[in-house]
Amino acid sequence: MKLTRRELLLSSGALAASAFFPPFAHARAEAGAPRKGGVLNVHLASEQRILNPSLRASTGVYIVTSKIIESLVDLDADGKIVAQLATAWESSKDGKTITFKLREGVKWHDGKPFTAADVQYNALELWKKHLNFSTGLQQNLEAVDTPDAHTAVFRYSRPIPLDLLLRALADLGYVVPRHVFEGTNVLENPANTAPIGTGPYRFVQYERGQYIIAERNPDYWRKDQPYLDRIVWRIITDRSAATAALETGQVQLSAYSQLALADLDRLSKNPDFEVTAKGLEANQFNNTLEFNFRRKEIADIRVRRAIAHAINIPFFIENFLYGQGRPGTGPIPSTSTAFYPKDAKVAYPFDKARAEALLDEAGYRRGAGGVRFTLKLVPIQNGEDVPLFATFIQQSLAAVGIRVEITNFDYAASLAAVYKEHNFDIATGWHQYRGDPAVSTTVWLHSGSPAGSPWTNQYGWKSEKVDTLIEDAASEIDPAKRRELYAEVVREIDEQFPIWFAIERDFYSVVSKKVHNGHNTARWPSSSWHDTWLTA
């Protein structure tokens, strides 16, 4: 039996035990030869505004479009970079020039050939200007040269670590055809909802609110692939309804944690399904607690630490999350082997007495009714666990004399309340780690973003030291030094505690056992599924 990296971590004893994913499920051998044909039905939890991964980076977009549109590189099962549209890459010594060799003989779905000009256009016009997280990543990209039809040379004004770029490009390196987008208003291009790419499946139809259909691309560059005739994404917004759809066989796959935790618990016992976190390692997320330093009590480090000490995270994981998750150890999740600091630990473990002592020490003694002070908590709605965690925070802080009033907003309003109006004392939501700290995590920590940008540093907290560390790490091309810089960031965040990365969470998929060659890469739901097949 082969143990995955995650299970190794589990068995290391540092983390809460999880009975959730039976180990044998991962080791199941792929039986028999791939079968051609069949329709794979996939759960899509929300309507997508735009089906263009070079304009919008999100798992909801990838889960559909990565079958139709391909990125330059992808990840393998161990999270290593593998070739896709790019076949080879090389960084100059100064880290400012990166050269990609592109695959030959690849055709767009409309028959035109894929060339370096396409990559050039995507990089300069879309990735650098529009694509979320990529505009930051590519801000120093100055030019893309195309010495021949299958070579693209990226020129940066500051060094960019090759690792960072490649890991990011798996998500932020999708290529759409230049001839379709050039000269148009890219945000309103019809190809944004009827995508054209080079992938193994061709877009057929998008019925709003119902489904999206793609069919096999007979001219795909991997000969004899893909195996599936069609993929149908069914849009089911209600979680319970989605589970019902799985159980009645209407869909075979639900990825990225879109089902109710309780249903997951039951489905894991259903022999027809596999519940797995494997194949989603590239995307990790944390349940977080954000502090607003504009509130004087919060600005006191003792209060922030007391809050963390007051909340029994292992209990929450065990009883509320069905054992699904690990106490968080900082901005970089333990699954990120390239950056996880060796000395990472839970900075402020559950210790109610310590919490009370810290609060007393800070001068906030219990007043009338045992209440020290009242905080306004804004849950940033994202899945069922956020409200659940909000309630748990409320309950836990009540026990140490901090009254918490939860303010429920819808998604847009909660983001505006926290990131635009700063109308909160504490907030809780998700933070998604995207393979490399520089992609999204440090954006969240670096100061100076204007108000109104969600998931940027709007906490009234600023650390010159952290800002410098982040800037240095983003252009440090020596992997070992980068790793050390980020370890320093983690230590600094633990110390200053502007944000609490409370619980480290895995995404999971529920997949029918009829699906083969599934979850065999680190970002499988966002990969091209060229080798996926179904038993009859």
Binding site: A262, Q395, T407, F409, A413
Partner: protein, 276 residues
Amino acid sequence: MQFIRDYLRNPAAAIGLLLLAAVLALAATAGLLFPDDPLGLAGRPLQWPFANAAFWLGTDHSGRDIAAQIFHGARVSLVIGFVATLIAILIGIVVGALSGYYGGVVDDVLMRITEAFQILPNFLLLLVLVAVFGSELNTIIVAIGVVSWPPAARLTRAEFLSLRNREFVQAGRTLGLGDLRLIFGEILPNALPPVVVYASVIMAVAILLESALAFLNLSDPNVPSWGNLIGGGRSVLRDQWYVSAIPGVAILLTVLAVSLVGQGLNDALNPRLRNR
């Protein structure tokens, strides 16, 4: 007295009153029986009813005592029901009375506004109001009241239209009574009974509207409302169905009680149908 006897002669109405009294009793005794915060962590989440003697209705997905939430929730649901209904009825009566009494341009303008509210699906407006003004309990109550008044206004207006030319109103006018006295002293007391009966419908709908909001996770999480419990229990509906079933039944019985009482009032007020 005769009225009370008429009312109680109707068994359904008597049952309704009994149920309502039971809900009121829940609300009244909540503080005595469950002095602790009903939203506080009471124990391990998702314990089945009767499985643990301490939680005879079990615990919900957040480890809160369901029984405590049912008792305290009775207060919240009744407050939501009563206050939202009061708001709706007040707006409805003022609009309906002015519209029905004055007619003409006043009627035209007010009825256009009423029409606007009726054309717009009320739940949609409620969503917008909650999205705009947030989901604090007071806001929600006011919002529910604000989307529920048009039928009350139409009803009041219809009553006023039929009453304003009745002889006792004309008599008041020949005596020299002013408009306000005529509206509030003469017509309104007579127009009120059907509106009061209709209030039971508004109240029932108000309680249901709050639960629908909670279903969409847009209700106030700081109060132990039944709607919140249902909304929260939604994620464990398949296996721990009791989490949403218990408050579901509570809502059902309360709405039933309110409807039965309303119907009983109606029957007692309409002697012609008294024996039906």
